[in-house]
Amino acid sequence: MIQKISWPFLLIVVFASCQKSKTEKSAYPDHVGDIAFDEKTDDPNFKICLNGRIPQYYEFGKSLQYKGEKPAIDKHFEILKQNESTAESGYITIRFVVNCEGKTGRYRIEEMSNDYQPMSFDKKLVEKILTLTRELNGWIVGGDQAHPVDYYQYLTFKIEGGKLIEIMP
């Protein structure tokens, strides 16, 4: 009798554990570029409105959406063009979420050399770029007025000799 009850139970346990390990083993998030909340670094008060997949900025077919367009962003970071010369060149990319209120959070940083290898820039420069990125307050919400949605955005800063050269995308 005990055996008759145990077998189905065991099968359920094995099936459940297989499902769990399959999820754990995946090298990928639900979607490439997803930024999961990290309680160590992210603001717990930053609100995500969508209950599901957060789209990328380009999925709205409007390119980057900012009040004053790209020139307003370029102007905001202009101070970095006057930086002191250093030997550092490459790219600093900051990925983040623009929520349905146009506020930003969940910043993630990727530092890359000109030959596309991971590198570390001077911490002060990275911190300066992050602070200036946090200060940007002209993001236009995704979706429409009736249905505003969050989205992922990134900014890539091309650095040559410690100075800002261009901002992408």
Binding site: A27, D30, H31, V32, G33, S63, P71, K158, E166, M168
Partner: protein, 282 residues
């Protein structure tokens, strides 16, 4: 020919060019592997080219991994797997994957990699390297950009202009425009006009920008740059009129646009408004 007929023929022209670019980057023909009796690669190719998760989803990325595991030489799977990393700003991972695709099939992926280096990263020197390597593989025509906007030789010229070699860029563009059988793409003359303006060939610039308008009168940009030239020549009425036209076109949506990035020589409403306010007191 009426203006509406001209407009329609231009749209057809742009559509054909875009289609050509897409055809140039179509999915592989898996049957080639079957004909070679290479069934693991045939099955991997079928797996990689059939549906299975939206771009960048875990399901889709794992599908490409399975295909690569089964057929490590399947360049298409590496290339497709790389795309979401590029679009979403994870460039280190993108580069590793696209490099693998290029290593396996340089003739197919070099032009695409060069274009992406230009479009997403403004990696002008890296893009030039890819295009010049492609020149050695395809001396007559190195193909078109992924979005269908450019023949890649023109992009190579834009890369040279961005690293300060503007005269060289002009020479490359003019040589491409003069090639037998080459039909100018919609932004070729716009870039040529801007470069000539920047190198102070004013007559050449006006000529190129005017040709840009004749080829595609759905852009604010040539009017804006013509306006700058008129301003420099102190032609007040022409300056104001060109800027007003640029603004009207911009507001109608007649402007350079790319859903992912900001194209070179694109103008913005703030730039035009600024010139219009100067024009009021000029």
């Amino acid at each position: 020919m009426t203006k509406s007929m001209l407009s329609a023929s231009r749209l057809v022209f742009v559509f054909l060019l875009t289609s050509l670019a897409l055809v140039a980057f179509a999915e592989p023909n898996c049957n080639i592997y079957k004909m070679e009796n290479n069934m693991p690669c045939y099955e991997a190719c079928v797996l990689a080219t059939t549906g299975g998760g939206e771009q960048g989803s875990r399901k889709s990325q794992e599908k490409f991994d399975k295909a690569i595991e089964q057929c490590p030489a399947l360049d298409y799977a590496y290339m497709e797997k790389s795309v979401p990393y590029l679009k979403r700003g994870e460039f280190i991972t993108w580069k590793k994957l696209i490099d693998k695709a290029v290593e396996l099939n340089p003739t197919l992926h070099l032009g695409y990699r060069g274009w992406c280096r230009y479009q997403f990263l403004r990696d002008y020197r890296g893009a030039i390297k890819d295009f010049e390597r492609l020149d050695t593989l395809f001396p007559h025509d190195i193909g078109y950009s992924q979005n269908g906007d450019y023949q890649l030789t023109i992009v190579k010229a834009l890369c040279y202009s961005a690293i300060g070699e503007k005269d060289k860029a002009i020479t490359i563009i003019e040589a491409q425009l003069g090639k037998k059988g080459y039909s100018p793409m919609v932004y070729d003359y716009l870039h040529l006009g801007v470069l000539k303006m920047e190198t102070e060939d004013i007559a050449g610039s006006i000529e190129s920008l005017t040709r840009s308008i004749a080829l595609n009168d759905y852009l604010a940009e040539p009017y804006y740059y013509l306006g700058l030239i008129y301003k420099s020549k102190n032609l007040k009425a022409e300056y104001k009129s060109a800027m007003e036209k640029a603004k009207a076109y911009y507001l109608k949506g007649y402007k350079r646009f790319d859903p992912y990035t900001h194209p070179m020589h694109k103008v913005y409403l703030g730039d035009i408004d600024n010139e219009l306010s100067i024009a009021q007191t000029f």
